[in-house]
């Protein structure tokens, strides 16, 4: 069994188009939530979202290449390029790493455009539709863009897609199957149709995302990609790589309950498995990057699950939901949030839960409200709990390091 460390980070989301911008926003408690700019909002009740901003794909891809890339694949390739560049000299020994990414749907925007033209336009379907829509396209484009030749596939489990992908990638590296893996998640789900579908479920907040706050009114959809380079410790040390953190545990469970309603037991089980897998006690955990969607049900269920796992220690550890800033990026959520968690471990701070206004008696723990906190933490969990009861939790440990790379 090999130890698994993180040597590269890549991210773009509503809080920034690269890791330095993202870090700055997390520390500042900035909000990426605002009026929807990429959708017509006339027929929508909910007119806000957490979109990637100031984004011009032609700055990164030439025109013929772009014709093959849905927005979700663009995000994935850009985050992977950033993570691999950040890992420096990753390819010194081999290109046979893994690429495993989560995606909740795939090329949803291309699918929507194709359907619109087919059913409401001239009735024709563009021949690039399939390759833009397939859920694994983002992974394929990363392998081609970077020349990575090891095992590569997509993982899909709705809002837990990223964490399942990262967990499985971690197992491949841990078992020595591959020396490193590019992993995380991507999603770009802002389409008129999908937004209407989320609206119909009555779980979107009309104003902003207020996780764990008494007046929370639901989630705010987001988009983006979060990618990390996982590497066996021996491979990283052999090439003198600088290390951000160690991924020590992965726990996954299913509620076997309801298609939307989460269970305390399933969430608690995934957290316990991550602790056991990492060989740590509940008391070792200092911080949890919560699933924290801002829906009435999730936040109280997650709080109860944390209390069940951590007992009295639940009152001492810090919890925050960065979704209050970057929204719920669905299949990309776990990747974006793991990058936040690793940055917190590396730069000694706790990202805040923004927009917090009032105590809910059902959510009475320390959610780091409204302001980032300077604090050195040693072990953190990153939670993802998906619709359909599919839970995945990652455990990460601080890596002792010299003064950090700036990332700013």
């Amino acid at each position: 069994m090999k130890r698994v460390v993180v040597t590269g980070l890549g991210c773009l989301c509503a809080l920034g188009n690269n890791v330095p911008q993202y870090l700055e926003s997390l520390i500042a408690g900035r909000s990426g939530i605002g009026p929807l700019a990429t959708l017509p909002t006339d027929g929508l009740r909910i007119k806000i979202g957490a979109e990637v901003k100031q984004y011009d794909p032609t700055a990164f891809f030439d025109a013929p290449h772009l014709e093959l890339l849905d927005r979700n694949a663009q995000f994935a390739v850009l985050a992977a390029r950033e993570a691999v560049a950040d890992a420096e000299e990753l390819f010194s020994s081999t290109f046979e790493g893994a690429v495993i990414l989560g995606a909740s749907i795939g090329g949803k925007i291309s699918d929507d455009m194709a359907s619109d033209r087919l059913y409401c336009g001239d009735g024709r379907v563009h021949p690039h539709t399939i390759v833009r829509v397939m859920a694994s396209a983002a992974v394929s484009h990363i392998t081609m863009d970077l020349g990575i030749t090891g095992p590569a596939f997509s993982v899909t489990s709705a809002c837990s897609s990223s964490n399942h992908a990262i967990g499985e990638a971690m197992r491949l590296v841990r078992a020595g199957v591959v020396p490193w893996a590019v992993t995380g998640g991507t999603d770009a789900c802002f389409t008129y149709g999908l937004h209407k579908a989320w609206e119909a479920m009555r779980i979107l907040a009309p104003d902003t995302c207020r996780p764990f706050s008494a007046d929370r009114r639901g989630l705010v959809l987001g988009e983006g990609a979060g990618v990390v380079v996982l590497e066996s410790l021996e491979h990283a040390q052999a090439r003198g790589a600088s290390i951000y953190a160690e991924v020590i545990g992965y726990g996954a469970s299913s509620d076997a309950g309801h298609i939307t309603h989460p269970s305390v037991t399933g969430a608690a089980q995934a957290m316990r498995m991550a602790l056991r897998d990492g060989g740590i006690a509940p008391e070792d955990v200092d911080y949890i990057n919560a699933h924290g969607t801002g829906t009435p049900t999730n936040d109280v269920t997650e709080t109860r699950a944390i209390k069940e796992v951590f007992g009295e220690h639940a009152n001492r550890l810090a919890i925050s939901s960065t979704k209050s800033m970057h929204g719920h990026a669905l299949g990309a959520a776990g990747g974006i949030e793991l990058v936040a968690t690793i940055l917190a471990l590396y730069h000694d701070f706790l990202p805040p839960t923004m927009n917090y206004t009032a105590l809910d008696p059902g959510c009475d723990l320390d959610y780091v409200p409204n302001k980032a906190r300077e604090q050195q933490i040693n072990v953190a969990l990153s939670n993802s709990f998906a619709f359909g009861g599919l839970n995945a939790v990652l455990a990460v440990r601080r890596w002792p390091h010299a003064p950090p790379r700036s990332n700013l």
Binding site: D62, E67, D122
Partner: protein, 90 residues
């Protein structure tokens, strides 16, 4: 079909074939191979798709992968246009 019409069709086809590629249209002749222009199989079907919209013709599946040069595309399209014209004026 007059020479002028033929020339116009050829120009429109070359414009579609080049698409977003950075290629000088005047450097393209009927002998130019599609491969040389960077057109591989997936591009070829996208080009056929655009040609069908522009000229209101349907290119049969069996023809698509036989297209090797710009001239092949031109021949196929003009034949389809003429067949169409023939059927309109019996």
């Amino acid at each position: 079909m007059t020479d002028n019409q033929t020339k116009q069709i050829e120009e429109r086809l070359i414009r579609i074939i080049i698409g977003s590629r950075k290629i000088d249209p005047t450097s393209v002749t009927s002998d130019t191979s599609l491969g040389k222009l960077g057109v591989e199989s997936l591009d070829a079907v996208a080009i056929v798709f655009d040609i069908e919209a522009e000229f209101k013709v349907t290119i049969p599946d069996s023809e698509v992968y036989q297209l090797k040069t710009v001239g092949d595309v031109f021949t196929t399209v003009t034949q389809l246009l003429q067949a169409q014209k023939g059927s309109e004026n019996p």
